[in-house]
């Protein structure tokens, strides 16, 4: 029940804690040295605008995983929410925003109920929600992208700027600040980690474990909903067939961020770093193509991403030693 971390060597601990951020900086340095305009404001801003969607989803996933669970539904939920938001966009910015977020929240609540009330394992529960959300999105959209209204300010949520920074980046930034506060400065955040560390012990210590888990999945759904709103606003359409593989991107980002998949330990900041890192790999590959070397890079991208994940997971396993088993 209790874990022995004594086997860790300080170096490994450092790598585990700051590895992502270090890797991120290295990658940025590499790009800056190798490509023109890589650190040009245009690339930075459009990169942030695009990656913020994934960052939001990864944040929700981070909390879910810290609580010892997993959420496969985020991608489909984001897609469905983008449709809902697009449908509501003619009524204005706020209605669109709320509608999209609400759609995500509902899906998250559904996950929470399946897991805490029906005791269905998170993997299956969120898998079902993933299918259901995907189908619902297509139904609502009539099988094709739904145009958002350009008459209202709704598109600003995705395409607008604020103080020179993309609005989506602002939304993600705020979410992460709140996320960090919730995790580090509220009792709830501590309970999430406690439940993830040992659900049974947490119950014994008088924590309402089920309520904690429920809220975590609801939150993940809400963030996926927000990502969906940005998706709709940024590309001017609700896209029922988007979001494929987002859940894996998010899981990978969380893992790369050094959060324990068995729950109980994790960091919001390095999850952000993880998301940026993975996003940056795509961006770099595009620039690399600019030098005209790699050909069908989409294929290599998956291989590279897979190997990268493998590396990180093994490193993590070594850090935690025997305790990596659930």
């Amino acid at each position: 029940m209790t874990t022995s971390l004594t086997s860790r060597t300080p170096l490994l601990v450092l790598v585990g804690r700051y590895g992502v951020i270090a890797a991120l900086l290295l990658l940025i340095l590499f790009g800056w040295a190798r490509y023109d305009n890589f650190l040009g404001s245009y690339n930075i801003l459009s990169f942030l605008r695009y990656t913020s969607m994934f960052a939001l989803v990864a944040l929700g996933m981070a909390f879910v995983i810290m609580s010892g669970g997993i959420d496969l539904s985020v991608g489909a939920v984001a897609a469905m929410s983008s449709v809902v938001a697009a449908l509501a966009s003619p009524y204005g910015l706020i209605p669109g925003l709320l509608a999209g977020a609400a759609a995500g929240l509902v899906a998250g609540i559904l996950n929470g109920i399946l897991i805490t009330r029906l005791n269905i394992v998170p993997f299956i529960a969120t898998l079902a929600t993933m299918l259901a959300a995907g189908g619902t999105g297509l139904l609502l959209a009539g099988n094709q992208s739904v145009s958002v209204s350009y008459d209202t300010a709704f598109v600003e949520l995705g395409q607008g700027d604020l103080l020179g920074f993309p609005v989506p980046a602002w939304i993600a930034a705020i979410a992460y600040v709140l996320g960090s506060i919730i995790l580090n400065l509220t009792a709830f955040g501590r309970s999430v980690l406690a439940v993830g560390g040992s659900e049974d012990a947490s119950r014994m210590m008088g924590l309402p474990a089920d309520r904690v888990k429920f809220l975590v999945y609801a939150g993940s759904g809400l963030l996926a909903g927000l990502a969906g709103v940005i998706l709709a606003a940024q590309f001017g359409a609700g896209q029922p067939i988007e979001g494929v593989g987002w859940e894996l991107f998010a899981i990978a980002a969380v893992v790369v961020g050094g959060t324990l998949l068995t729950g109980g330990k994790g960091s919001v900041e390095s999850t952000l770093a993880g998301a940026l890192l993975l996003g940056l790999i795509f961006n770099i590959l595009n620039f690399e193509n600019g030098l005209g070397w790699i050909s069908l890079s989409a294929y290599w991208q998956s291989v590279i991403r897979g190997l990268f994940l493998l590396l990180v997971v093994i490193l993590q396993a070594k850090l935690v030693g025997r305790d990596a088993t659930g």
Binding site: F38, S46, Q159, A237, E242, N286, F287, N289, S295, A298
Partner: protein, 301 residues
């Protein structure tokens, strides 16, 4: 609305090609054509692959803009979500040429927001397939339609064109229409099921050759003779399809050429030289049937 970005004449350009995905033969042939032609002319090509995500394709275009390409060839994943990419390029003063699929005309206009659209007319393709079928079946057919990926513009247009064509023939009706995702395996499975549910079907219209080839397998599995019991028509003009025509299993296929390289780059040069570019450049696509399949199969991909 401000004017189209200009492009000054050079003998070598750095151009971007934002591909939608690389998961079917047609796309791969298109990519190859763009790359080969660029090499031939000694141009530098920035190639990106959106892996089927409209969102990523927009990001790809943005990274091209960041890299300061002279012009962008964009094969839009979807009509609506790619509008921001077109507009961003325009703002950045980079001319855009759309390939094989267009963007929502109510939001972006050829000659104002992008230079032009080069490609086939999907509606026209559907119409030609429909007319051929009407002709060969004497205007009498119960048709199973294998649609492309739900939501994609070729799927919508090829369905529309075909519907227009058979409207004139009261005794031609589509008894079932389901998506086969432009894929051979899915097309086969859907065809098997639909043939089972509608044994009275006499014809199959597939939105692309891959699904048609799958459908042929399905027809044979159902113990019927493709080309005799069931007439099959489709679109694209792949080597497999032409072979099937030669074997008498596939009735006909409307060419939808993936070889965009030459025309695309020529158009860009013309534009740089200040010539006026029409808002639509439609490849004159051939029509493959028993009469010409044998001699043309060599050119197919």
């Amino acid at each position: 609305a401000q004017e189209l970005p200009k492009l000054e004449p050079k003998d070598s350009y750095k151009v971007g090609f934002a591909q939608t995905e690389s998961n079917n033969p047609w796309r791969i042939a298109q990519t190859k054509s763009m790359q080969d032609e660029a090499q031939k002319r000694g141009w530098q090509l920035v190639y990106t692959d959106a892996a089927g995500s409209a969102a990523k394709q927009v990001a790809d275009v943005n990274s091209m803009i960041a890299q300061g390409v002279d012009a962008i060839f964009l094969a839009p994943r979807e009509e609506k979500p790619l509008i921001p990419a077109v507009m961003a390029a325009k703002r950045a003063g980079i001319p855009v040429i759309l390939l094989d699929r267009s963007v929502d005309p109510s939001l972006a206009e050829a000659g104002r927001d992008y230079v032009t659209f080069i490609g086939s007319d999907f509606i026209e393709e559907g119409r030609r397939a429909g007319e051929w079928l009407a002709q060969t079946t004497g205007g009498k057919a119960k048709i199973i339609e294998l649609q492309g990926t739900t939501g994609s513009s070729p799927a919508n247009d090829r369905a529309k064109g075909f519907a227009d064509a058979i409207q004139a023939h009261p005794e031609m009706e589509v008894v079932a229409s389901q998506s086969g995702d432009f894929a051979r395996d899915k097309g086969r499975q859907v065809a098997e099921t639909l043939l089972q549910a509608h044994p009275d079907a006499t014809a199959i219209y597939a939105h692309n050759d891959e699904m048609a080839v799958g459908a042929i397998a399905a027809v044979e599995a159902a113990g019927k003779v493709p080309g005799k019991d069931i007439t099959i028509v489709s679109i694209d003009g792949t080597r497999d399809a032409l072979q099937a025509i030669i074997d008498g299993k596939l009735g006909a296929t409307v060419e939808c050429s993936p070889f965009f390289g030459p025309v695309a780059y020529d158009t860009l040069v013309k534009y740089a030289n200040g010539e006026t570019i029409p808002p639509k450049i439609i490849n004159e696509d051939r029509f493959f049937d028993a009469s010409n399949a044998q001699e043309l199969i060599a050119e197919a991909y």
